[in-house]
Symmetry: C2
Subunit: 235 residues, 2 copies
């Protein structure tokens, strides 16, 4: 069974969320059931780019990730697009047999049995600014599929006040999932530089808003990869 792969890169640090700072090799899967207005990975989402996605056997995917890490076990993050439209069970099985840990980031629209084989499942439901609508029954199926995973967390990108209010409702639906908020990045053109001060300002805005509201449930984190590399790909 062939996988559609956009890129395999690393090791580098995970830039966001619960594993922030963690040395990671990334496997980016091609294809997505969403089309968020502010998507920062359109090259993995828009089927106009599908000619650039590589058809790869699971063994080849695993071999490339392994080679990048020099055979030294670390965390492998499967992202996309939405990786849950494909079957990553064989890749995970090959890696786990050699002591690697696996994380997966998905919006939580499609549940897959292989979620149970992960170490970390990041469910990232999309707020109103995305233009998408969350199917909360499907999301709950994803949480259920991740039972037994060492950690399942919720991560929400916040662009504006409406997203913030929505995040509180989302947290109320799944209060047991550790919650991570992340200020949205409106600058997603890989050819344009990112202003670190603007990134700092957005983090300040979200921090002050959340603290003023006395909402202490979420952790608030920026995207470190954007801070250090801008929107460049493959880093």
């Amino acid at each position: 069974m062939t996988l559609r792969i956009v890129e395999i890169f690393g090791p580098t640090i995970q830039g966001e969320g619960v594993l922030i700072g963690e040395p990671t090799v990334f496997i980016r899967a091609g294809g997505c059931d969403y089309r968020c207005s502010w998507c920062d990975s359109l090259h993995a989402v828009d089927s106009a780019f599908r000619h650039s996605w590589l058809p790869m056997e699971p063994e080849a995917v695993w071999q490339q990730a392994r080679d990048l890490s020099g055979g030294q076990p670390l965390t492998i993050s499967i992202s996309g697009g939405n990786p849950a439209i494909q079957d990553f069970a064989p890749v995970i099985a090959l890696g786990r047999a050699e002591g690697y840990r696996f994380a997966c980031e998905t919006q939580g629209s499609i549940a897959k049995p292989w979620f149970a084989d992960l170490d970390t499942l990041v469910l990232s439901p999309k707020p109103p600014s995305s233009g998408e609508t969350v199917d909360w029954a499907a999301f709950a199926d994803c949480v259920q599929a991740g039972q037994g995973v060492r950690q399942t967390v919720m991560k929400i990108v916040i662009f504006d006040d409406a997203d913030y209010a929505w995040a509180k409702d989302a947290h109320a639906r799944h209060p047991d999932l550790p919650l991570y908020l992340q200020p949205g990045n409106p600058e997603v053109d890989p050819d344009l530089p990112v202003d670190p001060q603007a990134l700092a300002d957005r983090l300040l805005w979200l921090t002050e808003k959340t603290m003023a509201d006395a909402w202490f449930a979420p952790r608030i984190l920026p995207q470190l990869h954007v801070l250090i590399w801008g929107n460049k790909r493959g880093v």
Copy 2:
């Protein structure tokens, strides 16, 4: 028994280490057995500032931290200076009784029984660039005192290649402690602005160095509070 307190502030997000992004009220203790060359909290270390440290009863310390959080349980971080030269057991007992969580950050030079009452113990041994020398027997006593704590971690600030090499040795001494590396911040004057690009550059330097070395044990994180507030105090 009176405590010497520099400042109690928050809630704001924890800017660094294992609890990065976590809403936190900070209690900064006055006094330190170290005098690191690059100390970013000299106002809590140098006894020339001791006239500005408030003598407070544990009940008053707790009341102020509680008031800042509006009585809503969150994480309270006890830092310094070195908080382990004082007895925070009564403050922790008062807070835990109301559901608050406690973290403490210390260099690991003095072990205290109250470490066992924490949720998170951050031991931060100082590398050569600090000008200090670590007493590893005392450090091991601190790890021992923290047995039963939910998480004990090691955090090391890295200014240069010598610090980096030293961090590998430190990790080899305590391989079971999750390790966090943090690029050093040479700009510690609270009256001077911090350049976010310089901070990004230092994070890039440390990330590239560690990845090129294929050392995947540590997580690598910046100081978010410096990114968003510079070296301003009380935020």
